[in-house]
Homo-oligomer: 239 residues x 2
Protein backbone atom coordinates (compact mmCIF):
# COMPACT_ATOMS: atom_id res chain seq x y z
CA UNK A 1 0.00 0.00 0.00
CA UNK A 2 1.23 3.40 -0.92
CA UNK A 3 1.32 5.82 1.94
CA UNK A 4 1.30 9.57 1.75
CA UNK A 5 4.58 11.40 2.00
CA UNK A 6 3.58 13.53 4.97
CA UNK A 7 2.54 10.33 6.72
CA UNK A 8 5.89 8.74 5.98
CA UNK A 9 7.73 11.75 7.36
CA UNK A 10 5.55 11.63 10.46
CA UNK A 11 6.25 7.93 10.99
CA UNK A 12 9.97 8.41 10.46
CA UNK A 13 10.21 10.95 13.24
CA UNK A 14 7.77 9.07 15.44
CA UNK A 15 9.86 5.94 15.34
CA UNK A 16 13.08 7.86 15.92
CA UNK A 17 11.48 9.42 18.97
CA UNK A 18 9.95 6.21 20.31
CA UNK A 19 13.18 4.31 19.81
CA UNK A 20 15.05 6.85 21.88
CA UNK A 21 17.32 7.89 19.01
CA UNK A 22 15.80 11.32 19.47
CA UNK A 23 15.60 11.87 23.22
CA UNK A 24 13.34 14.34 25.02
CA UNK A 25 14.74 17.83 24.66
CA UNK A 26 16.59 17.03 21.45
CA UNK A 27 16.12 19.41 18.61
CA UNK A 28 14.71 18.28 15.29
CA UNK A 29 15.97 19.68 11.99
CA UNK A 30 14.28 22.86 10.82
CA UNK A 31 11.50 22.55 8.28
CA UNK A 32 13.79 23.78 5.49
CA UNK A 33 16.25 20.95 6.08
CA UNK A 34 13.55 18.33 6.32
CA UNK A 35 11.95 19.47 3.09
CA UNK A 36 15.34 19.40 1.40
CA UNK A 37 15.96 15.89 2.73
CA UNK A 38 12.66 14.52 1.43
CA UNK A 39 12.58 16.79 -1.61
CA UNK A 40 9.12 18.15 -0.90
CA UNK A 41 7.35 21.39 -0.13
CA UNK A 42 7.36 22.99 3.28
CA UNK A 43 3.61 22.52 3.74
CA UNK A 44 4.11 18.77 3.52
CA UNK A 45 6.70 18.83 6.26
CA UNK A 46 4.47 21.12 8.28
CA UNK A 47 1.59 18.67 8.04
CA UNK A 48 3.76 15.86 9.36
CA UNK A 49 5.07 17.94 12.25
CA UNK A 50 1.60 19.26 13.08
CA UNK A 51 0.43 15.69 13.55
CA UNK A 52 3.30 14.95 15.92
CA UNK A 53 2.49 18.15 17.77
CA UNK A 54 -1.16 17.15 18.14
CA UNK A 55 -0.05 13.75 19.40
CA UNK A 56 2.09 15.46 22.02
CA UNK A 57 5.36 13.97 20.83
CA UNK A 58 7.03 17.27 20.02
CA UNK A 59 6.99 20.90 21.13
CA UNK A 60 7.59 23.84 18.84
CA UNK A 61 8.77 27.35 19.59
CA UNK A 62 9.03 30.09 17.03
CA UNK A 63 12.54 31.02 16.07
CA UNK A 64 13.89 28.39 18.48
CA UNK A 65 12.84 25.28 16.59
CA UNK A 66 11.20 21.91 17.16
CA UNK A 67 12.02 19.69 20.14
CA UNK A 68 11.11 16.22 21.37
CA UNK A 69 8.56 16.68 24.18
CA UNK A 70 9.15 15.49 27.71
CA UNK A 71 6.22 13.25 28.53
CA UNK A 72 4.07 14.41 31.43
CA UNK A 73 1.12 12.14 31.97
CA UNK A 74 0.84 8.62 30.78
CA UNK A 75 -2.23 8.97 28.71
CA UNK A 76 -2.99 5.55 27.49
CA UNK A 77 -5.56 3.55 25.69
CA UNK A 78 -7.65 1.48 28.03
CA UNK A 79 -9.25 -1.62 26.64
CA UNK A 80 -12.63 -2.15 28.25
CA UNK A 81 -14.15 -4.83 26.09
CA UNK A 82 -17.74 -5.92 26.16
CA UNK A 83 -17.80 -8.75 28.66
CA UNK A 84 -19.76 -11.08 26.43
CA UNK A 85 -17.34 -10.55 23.55
CA UNK A 86 -14.38 -11.12 25.83
CA UNK A 87 -15.72 -14.37 27.21
CA UNK A 88 -16.48 -15.72 23.74
CA UNK A 89 -13.03 -14.69 22.60
CA UNK A 90 -11.59 -17.07 25.15
CA UNK A 91 -13.68 -19.84 23.66
CA UNK A 92 -16.06 -20.03 26.60
CA UNK A 93 -19.83 -20.03 26.69
CA UNK A 94 -21.28 -16.72 27.69
CA UNK A 95 -24.43 -16.45 29.76
CA UNK A 96 -26.40 -13.67 31.37
CA UNK A 97 -28.82 -14.29 34.23
CA UNK A 98 -31.25 -11.54 35.13
CA UNK A 99 -31.45 -10.69 38.83
CA UNK A 100 -33.79 -7.72 38.77
CA UNK A 101 -35.75 -5.99 36.07
CA UNK A 102 -38.12 -3.15 36.88
CA UNK A 103 -39.09 0.39 36.04
CA UNK A 104 -38.61 2.74 38.96
CA UNK A 105 -40.48 5.99 39.19
CA UNK A 106 -38.49 9.12 39.88
CA UNK A 107 -37.98 9.94 43.55
CA UNK A 108 -39.01 6.46 44.59
CA UNK A 109 -35.53 5.02 44.95
CA UNK A 110 -33.00 6.95 46.91
CA UNK A 111 -29.40 7.46 46.04
CA UNK A 112 -28.92 5.49 42.86
CA UNK A 113 -31.23 7.82 41.06
CA UNK A 114 -29.01 10.76 41.78
CA UNK A 115 -26.46 9.02 39.61
CA UNK A 116 -28.67 9.69 36.65
CA UNK A 117 -29.75 13.02 38.10
CA UNK A 118 -33.51 12.83 38.00
CA UNK A 119 -34.24 12.48 34.33
CA UNK A 120 -37.60 10.88 34.97
CA UNK A 121 -38.30 7.16 35.18
CA UNK A 122 -35.42 4.72 35.29
CA UNK A 123 -35.20 1.12 34.24
CA UNK A 124 -33.30 -1.01 36.68
CA UNK A 125 -31.59 -4.05 35.18
CA UNK A 126 -29.35 -6.15 37.41
CA UNK A 127 -27.78 -9.38 36.37
CA UNK A 128 -24.97 -11.85 36.49
CA UNK A 129 -22.44 -12.44 33.73
CA UNK A 130 -21.36 -16.06 33.46
CA UNK A 131 -18.59 -17.88 31.62
CA UNK A 132 -19.28 -21.60 31.15
CA UNK A 133 -21.93 -21.24 33.82
CA UNK A 134 -19.48 -19.85 36.36
CA UNK A 135 -20.40 -16.42 37.73
CA UNK A 136 -17.91 -13.84 36.52
CA UNK A 137 -19.33 -10.48 37.42
CA UNK A 138 -22.35 -8.86 39.05
CA UNK A 139 -23.80 -5.93 37.21
CA UNK A 140 -26.12 -3.20 38.51
CA UNK A 141 -27.50 -0.93 35.83
CA UNK A 142 -29.87 1.99 35.55
CA UNK A 143 -31.12 3.20 32.19
CA UNK A 144 -32.98 6.42 31.52
CA UNK A 145 -36.36 5.54 30.06
CA UNK A 146 -36.70 9.01 28.58
CA UNK A 147 -33.44 8.63 26.67
CA UNK A 148 -34.02 5.01 25.66
CA UNK A 149 -37.77 4.29 25.46
CA UNK A 150 -37.18 0.98 23.69
CA UNK A 151 -35.50 -0.45 26.77
CA UNK A 152 -38.87 -1.13 28.38
CA UNK A 153 -39.84 -3.73 25.78
CA UNK A 154 -36.39 -5.17 25.14
CA UNK A 155 -35.76 -8.78 26.03
CA UNK A 156 -32.91 -8.50 28.50
CA UNK A 157 -33.21 -11.88 30.16
CA UNK A 158 -30.65 -13.54 27.97
CA UNK A 159 -28.85 -10.72 26.25
CA UNK A 160 -26.73 -8.50 28.48
CA UNK A 161 -28.19 -5.01 28.65
CA UNK A 162 -24.77 -3.55 27.86
CA UNK A 163 -24.69 -5.43 24.60
CA UNK A 164 -28.24 -4.41 23.82
CA UNK A 165 -27.51 -0.76 24.50
CA UNK A 166 -24.37 -0.85 22.38
CA UNK A 167 -26.42 -1.96 19.43
CA UNK A 168 -29.39 0.33 19.89
CA UNK A 169 -28.16 3.56 21.39
CA UNK A 170 -25.59 5.94 19.99
CA UNK A 171 -23.56 7.64 22.66
CA UNK A 172 -20.93 10.29 22.54
CA UNK A 173 -19.23 10.36 25.91
CA UNK A 174 -18.50 8.04 28.76
CA UNK A 175 -16.68 8.25 32.02
CA UNK A 176 -15.33 5.20 33.78
CA UNK A 177 -14.22 4.93 37.38
CA UNK A 178 -12.22 2.00 38.63
CA UNK A 179 -11.76 1.21 42.28
CA UNK A 180 -11.35 -1.68 44.70
CA UNK A 181 -14.16 -2.66 47.06
CA UNK A 182 -14.83 -5.51 49.46
CA UNK A 183 -17.50 -7.95 48.38
CA UNK A 184 -20.84 -7.19 50.02
CA UNK A 185 -23.34 -9.85 51.04
CA UNK A 186 -25.09 -9.84 47.66
CA UNK A 187 -21.93 -10.02 45.57
CA UNK A 188 -20.42 -12.66 47.83
CA UNK A 189 -23.44 -14.85 47.38
CA UNK A 190 -23.69 -14.45 43.64
CA UNK A 191 -20.00 -14.81 42.96
CA UNK A 192 -19.51 -17.59 45.57
CA UNK A 193 -16.91 -15.60 47.49
CA UNK A 194 -16.36 -14.90 51.18
CA UNK A 195 -17.79 -11.54 52.24
CA UNK A 196 -15.07 -8.89 52.17
CA UNK A 197 -13.03 -10.40 49.34
CA UNK A 198 -11.18 -7.73 47.34
CA UNK A 199 -13.14 -7.00 44.17
CA UNK A 200 -12.67 -4.68 41.26
CA UNK A 201 -15.45 -2.16 40.80
CA UNK A 202 -15.94 -0.63 37.36
CA UNK A 203 -18.48 2.16 37.19
CA UNK A 204 -19.46 3.87 33.97
CA UNK A 205 -21.65 6.83 33.18
CA UNK A 206 -22.66 7.21 29.56
CA UNK A 207 -24.42 10.11 27.93
CA UNK A 208 -25.25 11.64 24.61
CA UNK A 209 -24.89 15.37 24.52
CA UNK A 210 -26.42 16.63 27.74
CA UNK A 211 -28.70 13.61 28.08
CA UNK A 212 -27.73 10.82 30.42
CA UNK A 213 -28.19 7.34 29.05
CA UNK A 214 -27.06 4.81 31.59
CA UNK A 215 -25.10 4.17 34.74
CA UNK A 216 -23.57 0.78 35.36
CA UNK A 217 -21.58 -0.74 38.18
CA UNK A 218 -19.79 -4.03 37.66
CA UNK A 219 -18.18 -6.05 40.44
CA UNK A 220 -15.47 -8.56 39.53
CA UNK A 221 -13.53 -10.86 41.82
CA UNK A 222 -10.10 -9.21 41.97
CA UNK A 223 -8.25 -12.12 40.50
CA UNK A 224 -10.71 -12.87 37.73
CA UNK A 225 -10.34 -9.81 35.63
CA UNK A 226 -7.37 -7.76 34.58
CA UNK A 227 -7.66 -4.57 32.76
CA UNK A 228 -4.83 -3.95 30.40
CA UNK A 229 -3.83 -0.58 29.05
CA UNK A 230 -1.10 0.23 26.63
CA UNK A 231 0.77 3.34 25.83
CA UNK A 232 2.83 4.05 22.78
CA UNK A 233 2.41 3.21 19.14
CA UNK A 234 -0.92 1.63 19.98
CA UNK A 235 -2.46 5.05 20.29
CA UNK A 236 -1.65 5.70 16.67
CA UNK A 237 -2.28 2.13 15.57
CA UNK A 238 -5.73 2.12 17.12
CA UNK A 239 -6.88 4.63 14.57
Amino acid sequence: MKIALHERIRQDFESRILSGELAPGDRLPIEQDIMAHYGCARMTVNKALSALLAAGLIERRKKAGTFVARPKVHSMILDVPDIAAQVRERGQDYGFRSLAHAVRQPGAGAEEERLLAGQGALMQVDGLHQANGVPLCVEYRLVSVAAVPDIVDADLHTMAPGTWLLRHVPWTEAETRISAVPAGAAEASHLHLPVGTACLSVERWTWRGAERITYVRQIFPGDAYDMVARFGPSAAAAR
Copy 2:
Protein backbone atom coordinates in the same frame (compact mmCIF):
# COMPACT_ATOMS: atom_id res chain seq x y z
CA MET B 1 -6.37 35.66 22.33
CA LYS B 2 -6.77 35.31 18.64
CA ILE B 3 -7.26 31.77 17.45
CA ALA B 4 -6.58 30.42 14.03
CA LEU B 5 -9.49 29.96 11.68
CA HIS B 6 -8.91 26.26 11.10
CA GLU B 7 -8.88 25.83 14.86
CA ARG B 8 -12.14 27.70 15.22
CA ILE B 9 -13.77 25.52 12.57
CA ARG B 10 -12.47 22.42 14.36
CA GLN B 11 -13.87 23.60 17.69
CA ASP B 12 -17.21 24.49 16.16
CA PHE B 13 -17.72 21.00 14.84
CA GLU B 14 -16.26 19.37 17.91
CA SER B 15 -18.75 21.10 20.18
CA ARG B 16 -21.64 20.34 17.89
CA ILE B 17 -20.66 16.68 17.97
CA LEU B 18 -20.06 16.51 21.70
CA SER B 19 -23.30 18.30 22.46
CA GLY B 20 -25.21 15.72 20.48
CA GLU B 21 -26.48 18.24 17.96
CA LEU B 22 -24.60 16.15 15.43
CA ALA B 23 -25.25 12.56 16.41
CA PRO B 24 -23.13 9.55 15.43
CA GLY B 25 -23.81 8.66 11.83
CA ASP B 26 -24.91 12.16 10.88
CA ARG B 27 -23.37 13.64 7.83
CA LEU B 28 -21.38 16.85 7.94
CA PRO B 29 -21.52 19.44 5.17
CA ILE B 30 -19.10 18.87 2.32
CA GLU B 31 -15.87 20.84 2.32
CA GLN B 32 -17.17 23.19 -0.36
CA ASP B 33 -20.12 24.25 1.77
CA ILE B 34 -18.01 24.69 4.88
CA MET B 35 -15.50 26.84 3.05
CA ALA B 36 -18.34 28.93 1.66
CA HIS B 37 -19.83 29.30 5.14
CA TYR B 38 -16.58 30.49 6.68
CA GLY B 39 -15.39 32.27 3.58
CA CYS B 40 -12.02 30.52 3.45
CA ALA B 41 -10.00 28.20 1.26
CA ARG B 42 -10.61 24.48 1.08
CA MET B 43 -7.21 23.67 2.59
CA THR B 44 -8.24 25.48 5.75
CA VAL B 45 -11.38 23.41 6.09
CA ASN B 46 -9.37 20.30 5.33
CA LYS B 47 -6.95 21.06 8.14
CA ALA B 48 -9.82 21.39 10.62
CA LEU B 49 -11.44 18.14 9.50
CA SER B 50 -8.13 16.29 9.46
CA ALA B 51 -7.70 17.14 13.12
CA LEU B 52 -11.15 15.79 13.96
CA LEU B 53 -10.33 12.67 11.96
CA ALA B 54 -7.10 12.14 13.88
CA ALA B 55 -9.04 12.59 17.12
CA GLY B 56 -11.46 9.89 16.01
CA LEU B 57 -14.52 12.12 16.13
CA ILE B 58 -15.39 11.76 12.48
CA GLU B 59 -15.05 9.29 9.66
CA ARG B 60 -14.58 10.23 6.04
CA ARG B 61 -15.32 8.32 2.87
CA LYS B 62 -14.51 9.52 -0.58
CA LYS B 63 -17.48 10.52 -2.66
CA ALA B 64 -19.79 9.69 0.25
CA GLY B 65 -18.81 12.48 2.61
CA THR B 66 -17.91 13.10 6.24
CA PHE B 67 -19.79 11.50 9.13
CA VAL B 68 -19.79 11.67 12.90
CA ALA B 69 -18.01 8.55 14.13
CA ARG B 70 -19.75 5.95 16.27
CA PRO B 71 -17.51 5.61 19.27
CA LYS B 72 -16.35 2.11 20.06
CA VAL B 73 -16.58 1.12 23.66
CA HIS B 74 -13.40 -0.65 24.03
CA SER B 75 -10.85 2.01 23.60
CA MET B 76 -10.85 5.05 25.74
CA ILE B 77 -8.19 7.32 26.97
CA LEU B 78 -6.97 6.53 30.45
CA ASP B 79 -5.13 9.31 32.18
CA VAL B 80 -2.68 7.95 34.70
CA PRO B 81 -1.01 11.04 36.05
CA ASP B 82 2.16 11.08 38.01
CA ILE B 83 1.10 10.59 41.64
CA ALA B 84 3.19 13.51 42.87
CA ALA B 85 1.66 15.84 40.30
CA GLN B 86 -1.82 14.64 41.16
CA VAL B 87 -1.38 15.19 44.88
CA ARG B 88 -0.04 18.70 44.36
CA GLU B 89 -2.92 19.46 42.04
CA ARG B 90 -5.28 18.88 44.93
CA GLY B 91 -3.33 21.45 46.93
CA GLN B 92 -1.77 18.87 49.23
CA ASP B 93 1.83 18.39 50.25
CA TYR B 94 3.47 15.52 48.46
CA GLY B 95 6.05 13.33 50.18
CA PHE B 96 7.97 10.18 49.28
CA ARG B 97 9.53 7.94 51.90
CA SER B 98 12.05 5.37 50.78
CA LEU B 99 11.49 1.86 52.11
CA ALA B 100 14.19 -0.07 50.27
CA HIS B 101 16.94 0.93 47.91
CA ALA B 102 19.44 -1.59 46.63
CA VAL B 103 21.08 -3.03 43.55
CA ARG B 104 20.29 -6.69 43.04
CA GLN B 105 22.48 -8.93 40.98
CA PRO B 106 20.89 -11.04 38.27
CA GLY B 107 19.66 -14.40 39.41
CA ALA B 108 19.88 -13.46 43.04
CA GLY B 109 16.22 -12.59 43.55
CA ALA B 110 13.65 -15.00 42.33
CA GLU B 111 10.48 -14.20 40.55
CA GLU B 112 10.46 -10.43 40.42
CA GLU B 113 13.43 -10.47 38.14
CA ARG B 114 11.58 -12.46 35.58
CA LEU B 115 9.37 -9.43 35.25
CA LEU B 116 12.26 -7.60 33.67
CA ALA B 117 13.43 -10.77 31.96
CA GLY B 118 17.07 -10.99 33.00
CA GLN B 119 18.55 -7.87 31.56
CA GLY B 120 21.41 -7.87 34.07
CA ALA B 121 21.53 -6.04 37.38
CA LEU B 122 18.36 -4.46 38.70
CA MET B 123 17.87 -1.55 41.04
CA GLN B 124 15.15 -2.14 43.61
CA VAL B 125 13.43 1.00 44.83
CA ASP B 126 10.48 0.62 47.17
CA GLY B 127 8.74 3.52 48.82
CA LEU B 128 5.65 5.15 50.19
CA HIS B 129 3.78 8.01 48.53
CA GLN B 130 2.28 10.43 51.04
CA ALA B 131 -0.21 13.28 50.81
CA ASN B 132 0.00 15.72 53.73
CA GLY B 133 1.99 13.07 55.57
CA VAL B 134 -0.75 10.48 55.18
CA PRO B 135 0.32 7.30 53.37
CA LEU B 136 -1.40 7.08 50.02
CA CYS B 137 0.24 4.25 48.17
CA VAL B 138 2.97 1.65 48.51
CA GLU B 139 5.21 1.28 45.50
CA TYR B 140 7.52 -1.58 44.57
CA ARG B 141 9.80 -0.85 41.66
CA LEU B 142 12.55 -2.54 39.71
CA VAL B 143 14.70 -0.58 37.26
CA SER B 144 17.12 -2.04 34.74
CA VAL B 145 20.58 -0.70 35.53
CA ALA B 146 21.74 -1.45 32.00
CA ALA B 147 18.97 0.67 30.51
CA VAL B 148 19.21 3.47 33.05
CA PRO B 149 22.76 3.62 34.47
CA ASP B 150 22.15 6.99 36.10
CA ILE B 151 19.60 5.45 38.45
CA VAL B 152 22.39 4.13 40.69
CA ASP B 153 23.56 7.61 41.68
CA ALA B 154 20.19 9.32 41.65
CA ASP B 155 18.87 10.72 44.90
CA LEU B 156 15.60 8.85 45.27
CA HIS B 157 15.02 9.36 48.98
CA THR B 158 12.86 12.41 48.54
CA MET B 159 11.90 12.39 44.87
CA ALA B 160 9.68 9.58 43.70
CA PRO B 161 11.52 7.28 41.30
CA GLY B 162 8.62 7.51 38.88
CA THR B 163 9.02 11.24 38.67
CA TRP B 164 12.78 10.90 38.33
CA LEU B 165 12.39 8.38 35.51
CA LEU B 166 9.86 10.53 33.71
CA ARG B 167 12.40 13.34 33.61
CA HIS B 168 15.48 11.34 32.72
CA VAL B 169 14.40 8.49 30.51
CA PRO B 170 13.33 9.00 26.93
CA TRP B 171 10.02 8.00 25.47
CA THR B 172 8.54 4.72 26.38
CA GLU B 173 5.96 2.19 25.65
CA ALA B 174 4.07 0.85 28.59
CA GLU B 175 1.56 -1.78 29.54
CA THR B 176 -0.57 -1.37 32.62
CA ARG B 177 -2.54 -4.00 34.50
CA ILE B 178 -5.16 -3.10 37.03
CA SER B 179 -6.60 -5.54 39.53
CA ALA B 180 -7.97 -5.79 43.03
CA VAL B 181 -5.94 -7.49 45.79
CA PRO B 182 -6.26 -7.88 49.54
CA ALA B 183 -3.74 -5.91 51.58
CA GLY B 184 -0.80 -8.05 52.65
CA ALA B 185 1.00 -7.65 55.95
CA ALA B 186 3.48 -5.10 54.57
CA GLU B 187 0.90 -2.95 52.82
CA ALA B 188 -1.43 -3.10 55.79
CA SER B 189 1.26 -1.81 58.08
CA HIS B 190 2.44 0.97 55.79
CA LEU B 191 -1.02 2.14 54.82
CA HIS B 192 -2.47 1.67 58.33
CA LEU B 193 -5.14 -0.73 57.13
CA PRO B 194 -6.43 -4.04 58.40
CA VAL B 195 -4.86 -7.00 56.63
CA GLY B 196 -7.11 -8.15 53.78
CA THR B 197 -8.61 -4.75 52.98
CA ALA B 198 -9.53 -4.44 49.32
CA CYS B 199 -6.80 -2.55 47.49
CA LEU B 200 -6.27 -1.45 43.94
CA SER B 201 -3.13 -2.85 42.34
CA VAL B 202 -1.64 -1.01 39.40
CA GLU B 203 1.24 -2.76 37.68
CA ARG B 204 3.15 -1.23 34.83
CA TRP B 205 5.90 -2.48 32.55
CA THR B 206 7.76 0.18 30.64
CA TRP B 207 10.23 -0.17 27.82
CA ARG B 208 11.98 1.70 25.07
CA GLY B 209 12.21 -0.20 21.84
CA ALA B 210 13.10 -3.74 22.83
CA GLU B 211 14.82 -2.67 26.03
CA ARG B 212 12.95 -3.02 29.28
CA ILE B 213 13.23 -0.05 31.56
CA THR B 214 11.17 -0.60 34.68
CA TYR B 215 8.47 -2.61 36.37
CA VAL B 216 6.36 -1.03 39.07
CA ARG B 217 3.56 -2.23 41.29
CA GLN B 218 1.52 0.28 43.23
CA ILE B 219 -0.96 -0.64 45.94
CA PHE B 220 -3.68 1.86 46.82
CA PRO B 221 -6.40 1.55 49.42
CA GLY B 222 -9.51 0.90 47.36
CA ASP B 223 -11.32 4.00 48.47
CA ALA B 224 -8.38 6.38 48.24
CA TYR B 225 -7.78 6.36 44.57
CA ASP B 226 -10.08 6.36 41.62
CA MET B 227 -8.90 5.93 38.15
CA VAL B 228 -10.99 7.87 35.74
CA ALA B 229 -11.14 7.20 32.06
CA ARG B 230 -13.07 9.34 29.69
CA PHE B 231 -14.04 9.06 26.12
CA GLY B 232 -14.79 12.14 24.14
CA PRO B 233 -13.56 15.60 24.98
CA SER B 234 -10.64 14.26 26.96
CA ALA B 235 -8.55 13.57 23.92
CA ALA B 236 -8.82 17.13 22.79
CA ALA B 237 -9.03 18.75 26.21
CA ALA B 238 -5.85 17.05 27.37
CA ARG B 239 -3.89 19.18 24.96
